[in-house]
């Protein structure tokens, strides 16, 4: 065929098809179909915020969990006797001492400053603000708790000097010339309510780190210890754990009569919010092949000849949000029952149509790959039982029979896809101090 003839042919079709003179008549049924599509989307829009809310809740959980975890670590452990840490409220230190009353704080370096070296410049008075009394050195930036080394034995009759915070009796330590040290003098009496009184003796032993041995605890000190004890009893540390799991499972539509085996691999993050209650979430890559009778396959496409059944290959990301309750715990073994909801994010979705008498191409399509796969938020109910064996404080193994039941129709074909399987996992406790 010559080029000119080709052009004529193209022109013929272009002129008549480009802009139809008699456009196709409007069909109300087409609008109804579109309206249904639009309606579906707005319905999805309502639940769209749910995963966002879930993420926010998980972040809040993490944040508060972190706070709870962090708090006990900053409190003096009774019985340890080697570290004295000021509770967070106290920004200053008071001290009674008989002779060379001093409190030395070293903010950054972890060595102990000899008492004299501080006393001298203070006594020589670099500044008169420091009266002949107690001297404390605190770090400029110290907020809560630097490490303090109080002076010697108490003496009730000792004179003390007073300096309020507003007066800011801050003097640089001229001798040590360390810019990060300041001297503060004040009275323990005036700020008794806000400050803890330490009576301690410096153990000038060769300790590294800022260490003070607490001797002869006074009432204030004792009460502080009690407080810690109470906290240790009542405070609960959330347990964080990460699990890697793999699971073979079987998938079926409506029932498991015609089921196919799928695979799952994923990562789960769990938070134990109480001794028995655990929340978990994560991402699991699932390959879910299944076969369904054509009656259960819903499509707007009109098949010239109905296939007998449809084989589907779906790959998706399963994002569960589960809660587990521990029902049994002995030695290193625990058993929990769990439930929750899963969201499916389809990654690949293709269908193969099987016709009677083998594949007869001319009678209809043989396969279909969904171009824009969808997301199904909280469309699946999870039910599971988890048996966990803790090998040590860090590592454990788990076996989890589970079942996933559809709450909504899943996939392009809108099938009720259900799944059951057994997941096998390895768990790592992220906070090792906590007991499994």
């Amino acid at each position: 065929m010559s080029i000119e003839k080709d052009k004529d042919l193209d022109d013929l079709f272009r002129k008549k098809l480009e802009d139809p003179v008699d456009p196709v008549g409007y069909n109300e049924a087409d609008w109804d179909a579109l309206e249904e599509m639009l309606g579906k989307r707005s319905k999805r829009g309502i639940v769209y915020w749910l995963p966002v809310l879930g993420s926010v809740a998980a972040l809040l959980l993490l944040f508060f969990g972190y706070l709870v975890l962090r708090h006990p670590a900053s409190v003096v452990k009774p019985g340890n006797g080697q570290q004295a840490v000021i509770p967070s409220k106290s920004d200053t230190i008071t001290k009674n001492s008989a002779t060379n009353q001093q409190a030395i704080v070293k903010p950054k370096t972890d060595t102990i400053l000899p008492p004299a070296s501080v006393n001298k410049p203070a006594g020589q008075g670099a500044k008169p603000l420091i009266l002949a009394g107690s001297v404390a050195v605190i770090p400029k930036n110290s907020k809560s708790g630097g490490n303090y080394v109080p002076g010697a034995t108490p003496n009730a009759g000792n004179r003390t000097s007073v300096a309020t915070a507003a007066q800011a009796p801050v003097v640089k330590d001229g001798v040590s010339s360390r810019s990060d040290e300041v001297l503060v003098a004040y009275s323990p009496v005036s700020s008794l309510q806000e400050q803890l009184i330490f009576n301690a003796q410096v153990k000038a032993a060769n300790r590294q780190g800022l260490i003070a041995a607490v001797h002869g605890a006074n009432p204030a000190n004792t009460s502080g210890s009690n407080k810690v004890k109470i906290k240790a009893k009542t405070g609960f540390q959330p347990r964080y754990a990460i699990s890697i799991l793999a699971a073979p499972d079987i998938n079926g539509v409506g029932s498991f009569q015609q089921s196919k085996v799928g695979t799952n691999e994923g990562l789960l993050f769990s938070v134990g919010v109480s001794k028995k209650l655990t929340f978990s979430t994560g991402a699991i890559y699932s390959v879910k092949p299944y076969i369904t009778p054509f009656e259960d396959y819903h499509t707007p496409y009109h098949f010239p000849v109905s296939p007998i059944n449809v084989t589907a290959d779906c790959r998706m990301l399963d994002i569960p949000l589960n809660v587990g309750y521990q029902v049994y715990s002995k030695h290193q073994n625990t058993l929990s029952l769990g439930t929750g909801l899963s969201s499916y994010i389809m990654l690949h979705e293709s269908y193969k149509f099987n016709y009677a008498g083998g594949s007869i191409y001319a009678t209809g399509p043989t396969s279909y790959t969904v171009p824009n796969s969808n997301k199904y938020f909280f469309g699946v109910l999870n039910l599971n039982a988890t048996f966990q064996h803790q090998v040590n404080s860090k590592v454990g193994f788990s076996v989890q029979p589970y079942m996933k039941l559809p709450l909504t129709n899943i996939g392009y074909s809108q099938v009720r896809l259900q799944t059951t399987g057994v997941a096998i996992g390895i768990n790592w406790n992220l906070n090792s101090s906590s007991k499994p």
Partner: protein
Amino acid sequence: MGEEELHQLIRGCIKQDRKCQKMLYKAFYGFSMGICLRYAGNRDEAAEVMNQGFFKVFTHIEKFDQSRPFKAWLGKIMMNASIDFYRANLKMAYTEDLDNAEHVTDGELVDKNLNYEDLIKMVQQLPQAYRTVFNLFAIEGYSHEEIGEMLNINPGTSKSNLHKARHKLKQMILNADAGRKGGNYNSGANYNTSIVAIRTIDMNGVFLNKGIRE
């Protein structure tokens, strides 16, 4: 529809106003179907693709630059929806080998009596792969390189498919013309190769029976 009225409808659609959406849908139904019918195999398929296109329109209408012509934007979306559909059904799109095809003589192709209905049916008779390339090249005016990128095929494949599409269309036109001359072709719209084939088989059967009897 006036420009102002159209922009008012578009503003309504941005607010996801269902009435405005329907009015816009009705106003551009014929235009959109005209495009989708060219790419689709039949009316139902065209309606499905068109709805996919309108779905994209309504969900992304805020991205439409109102200083530009709406019809061109809509047409492009319909074309893309058709291409998406083609890609999704790629495995269904079979190709035919023309080696065994009968030789088509160069006759007078431009039959002035062929109307829109005749021609759209001919295009719809084409295998999807040929139809899509023919539409993009002959009607939309894209080059083979552009078509190759759009359909994720080689420009060579695009050329080959265009050649085969033209060949088949030419055959159809000639057959339609012959049918009309022979009185079997009513409106030019009922061109159907399968019917011809069935008749041929029937004839053979008759001939064989006669042979046995004799």
